[in-house]
Symmetry: C2
């Protein structure tokens, strides 16, 4: 079987959105016999697609497996640039290095790398990130804004707002943002965002946004040592979520917010961000590479820097840290 | 001829520093006949090495061509980490993307990429940089300091001081530093430094320092349109300079200053930098991506940021810009 033809047939079925697709027409188009087309359809059925064959009308796709293949994401895309180029892997160590390589070789703004499973997913400070096969969104987005590198940390916050909005739209759950890069539901982590950078001192070449969302895990899908601190959308809503649809929605908001950022700066996004934050107004302990600061989280600046007031009245600007909320 | 054996013989001759190397010993060591060793010596002579054969003593290297091959640089190295891994190319579009790839695949701190000729060398803001074959130093240095990305711009200044000191040591010429990334001799540009970055929001993964030094060009080696603004060390000193020796000296200072920076911070380097600067105390025009500022260059902060006082008395911090000195 020719995998390109199968991919094209799948794309046709998905984009027909429940309408029949004529087998004869597919056969003509690809220069194949109707039997060859039928064999491709059988293979798709083996992959979990449910396809009805309606006499004199054609094939109708009635249900598709929860996979993330490009064609599946494509069908839900409402963004114009983001997700137009999709690099899909069944399994990979991590989507970030792949995205870095693609960015180096000129991948356009909004290109994404997505996989079913990461075998060596990473969070901030190279901490392990569990990326169970087929259960979450393990994705890297390449963004190329014309900004100086000092502004890059803002994109962690832009992404946090985009993912929060997408989860709200698709699953009806309101997550909270814990500065800088975590989304929590009921105090447990459901999303991590890792912002990496290729830049010179004048401007950013590419931001490589790593987004990990726990979507359809059950408690036992998580390693025991993180079961008390991790959650998934399904664990909260009781419903499985179509990951491709959620990806498309994240890309939708990410594109809108990136464009908003480019035209109006960080301020409108800061307001949005603050409305989802669970960090501000709290007493926190912030741990950096070689420093710790305890105090009141006052707010974020227009650069996305967290302002913390220590007991001696001094105000410290923090770019990135581990935050422990103390009240 | 086996290129590895030839490389090892060359290394042996270079490190003998004028002492004879026994042909019989080389033959025994590599399991080759004396005739085979002699053939390798002949090949080296064809490459421009001058080798005397002294009866009963062996081969003596009396002069080597001005090339940058790893063995040649190695003989001059006094640094411990910097230059221990050398990636050499005869010709390449630019050493920076090669160094980026090496850094991504884990190249150690102090690794360098060096070539005889760049066909598409780049300066700040993707401007063309002329890299004439065999006449200059076209090099990228991978540095892995444990610092947050906000500190990375300081490395342009650290590198500027290291190159200035190296030129002073080797050629006896004192260059001036024009903030942020140019070295000038008699007001003409002889060196450009490009600081690129791989990072996340917490820390730098790698700084890729691009260093271009005009060494042995004559005026006519430069394209006509830059002859009035470019110069080389040889044009000023009247003497050709051994590029491998200059590279080793740059790496020597770069390692010392990087270590100084890690243990004592930017302040001691700031003092050094200021002593070579031709920007401070001058009226300047600074052009950024989407802004221009005119005023008095007051100094640099402990973060390496240029402080400019405009006529309304306001002080602006500038991370990177084109600087026009107005008096």
């Amino acid at each position: 079987m020719n995998p390109t033809v199968k991919y094209e047939i799948k794309k046709r079925l998905l984009s027909a959105k429940g309408q029949p697709v004529s087998g004869q027409q597919l056969a003509d188009e690809f220069g194949l016999s109707r039997t060859a087309i039928w064999k491709h359809i059988k293979e798709l059925e083996e992959e979990g697609f449910v396809i009805n064959s309606i006499k004199k009308k054609g094939y109708v796709l009635t249900s598709s497996p929860d996979s993330l293949q490009a064609a599946k994401i494509n069908q839900y895309l409402t963004s114009k640039r983001f997700g137009q180029s999709i690099h899909y892997e069944e399994t990979c160590p991590s989507t970030q290095p792949i995205a870095h390589r693609l960015a180096q070789s000129g991948a356009p703004d909004g290109s994404i790398v997505v996989c079913e499973e990461q075998t060596a997913g990473k969070g901030r400070l190279a901490r392990a990130w569990t990326s169970t096969q087929g259960k979450g969104i393990w994705m890297s987005v390449i963004i190329r804004p014309e900004i100086p590198p000092t502004k890059a940390p803002q994109f962690t916050l832009v992404a946090a707002v985009a993912v929060t909005r997408a989860i709200e739209d698709i699953a009806g759950i309101r997550a909270e943002i814990k500065w800088p890069n975590d989304l929590l539901i009921n105090g447990k982590k459901c999303t991590g965002i890792l912002t990496e950078l290729q830049a010179d001192m004048d401007r950013v070449h590419a931001i490589i946004l790593g987004i990990g969302v726990n979507v359809n895990q059950l408690e036992t899908d998580f390693p025991e040592e993180i079961q008390s601190i991790a959650t998934s959308i399904q664990m909260v809503s009781g419903q499985p979520v179509d990951r491709a649809q959620l990806i498309a929605r994240i890309l939708h908001h990410l594109e809108i917010y990136t464009d908003l950022y480019i035209t109006h700066g960080f301020e409108p996004l800061k307001i949005l961000w603050e409305s989802y934050s669970c960090t501000l107004g709290k007493r926190i302990k912030a741990s950096m590479i070689n420093q710790q600061i305890e105090g009141l989280a006052l707010g974020i600046t227009n650069d996305g820097v967290l302002q913390v007031k220590t007991d001696d009245g001094q105000i410290h600007g923090i770019y990135s840290a581990d935050i422990e909320i103390q009240n």
